[in-house]
């Protein structure tokens, strides 16, 4: 999958979540996503960025514009070196949270995107990748 544009942002404070949303919106616009799809991917990015910050103790996001078979899309990779997720299935379940949130962020992000993958190793960190295609 060729990548035509890449940008990396750190997620350390809550203002960074706003920056992640802005970056995602810029990339989504560049790919030419419609208003609904833009809003979906920006919202998913917002959820995952906040998870990275609140549960992963901060991390990084890599935003990419990717091309495959003539289609263009936005791909975002959130990485942290936090405590990791022991039971991913449980974490994806609506209403489950280990913090004070609504427990809808991770599952919601999955539903808002075309591609979703999560890799987590307890004690080592978590890596979530999402993509939204035009």
């Amino acid at each position: 999958m060729p990548t035509t544009k890449t940008e990396r942002l750190g997620i350390r404070i809550s203002d960074d979540v706003v920056r992640v949303r802005q970056l995602t919106r810029t990339f989504a616009l560049e790919v030419g996503l419609g208003l609904v799809d833009q809003t979906k991917v920006v919202t998913a990015a917002s959820e995952l960025a906040r998870n990275t910050l609140d549960y992963g103790g901060g991390g990084d996001v890599t935003a990419e514009i990717v091309e495959q078979g003539g289609r263009r899309g936005v791909r975002l990779t959130f990485e942290d070196k936090g405590p990791g997720i022991a039971d991913i299935e449980q974490a994806l379940k609506d209403g489950f949270t280990s913090g004070k949130g609504m427990g809808l962020g991770l599952g919601g992000a999955k539903r808002l995107c075309n591609e979703f993958s999560i890799v987590s190793e307890p004690g080592l960190g978590t890596k979530v990748t999402i993509a939204r295609w035009k």
Binding site: R21, T39, K40, S46, G108
Partner: protein, 300 residues
Amino acid sequence: MAGQVGSDVASLVTRNEQNILPEWVELQKNAGTLHTGRISEGELQSQSRNFLHLLRDALTQSGTDTLAAPYEPAKAMLTELSRSRALQGFSPSETATFVFSLKQPLFNALNRDKTLSGEQIASTVWSLTVLLDELGLFTLEIFQKSREEIIVRQQREIAELSTPVVKLWEGILALPLIGTLDSQRTQVVMENLLQTIVDSEAEIAIIDITGVPTVDTLTAQHLLKTVAAARLMGADCLISGIRPQIAQTMVHLGVELNVISKASLADAFAVALRQTGRAVVKARRIEGFALPEKSGRQGA
């Protein structure tokens, strides 16, 4: 020995002021200090002359120790200068150039001075470099601090500006939310709304989110908490301004807003009026109610 270097340089400055000052001003002009038109050449001249004199006095009294008391007037002037330049929109390097560009004229004057040995010149150059670097960094620090003060002030202004609670009708309030709902601002919003509910004995509060670009689960949670708090105080909440893309996104997220929501503020206002036993009707339908006669001007 610092004292010796100090008085040496001080007398050098006194003897060579006629050369140092124009050379320094010229360097600042070449660096583009005047290009933006934010300060005049006259101002630059007098600022440079004042600083040179203050520096000379400080050098005479306490050598090159910038922490000593005689440096206070020079530092006060630098503080004033970098603060005003920060406000005028100068860049950090344009601001720091004021101090750093003084090096060359001073070194030139040292080199022209025939009474000093090579060794003396070398050690004086070093002391002067350290001194001017310290003062330059001091300028940058003040500059940075002033910029931060501006940012903090603007943040406060934005936080206050964007959370007005407006009264639409007797007992009906509206809270038009704009921008990002991070937790600190949400706190202000909630306090404002709850206080206004008490003050105006409101029955219904309409929260309009037309100006909120992204509604994620945290935003939704904040909204729901505000609604719950308002309910505890005896006011019903309506949410308006949910745009189609936001509605679709919220459905995918799985967020349920357990309140009456409407697409526009006008629709929500109509609901609020109905709930409080009122209605908006066209005037001519009411019997015995005369429309005011149109004057010629209004017709145009």
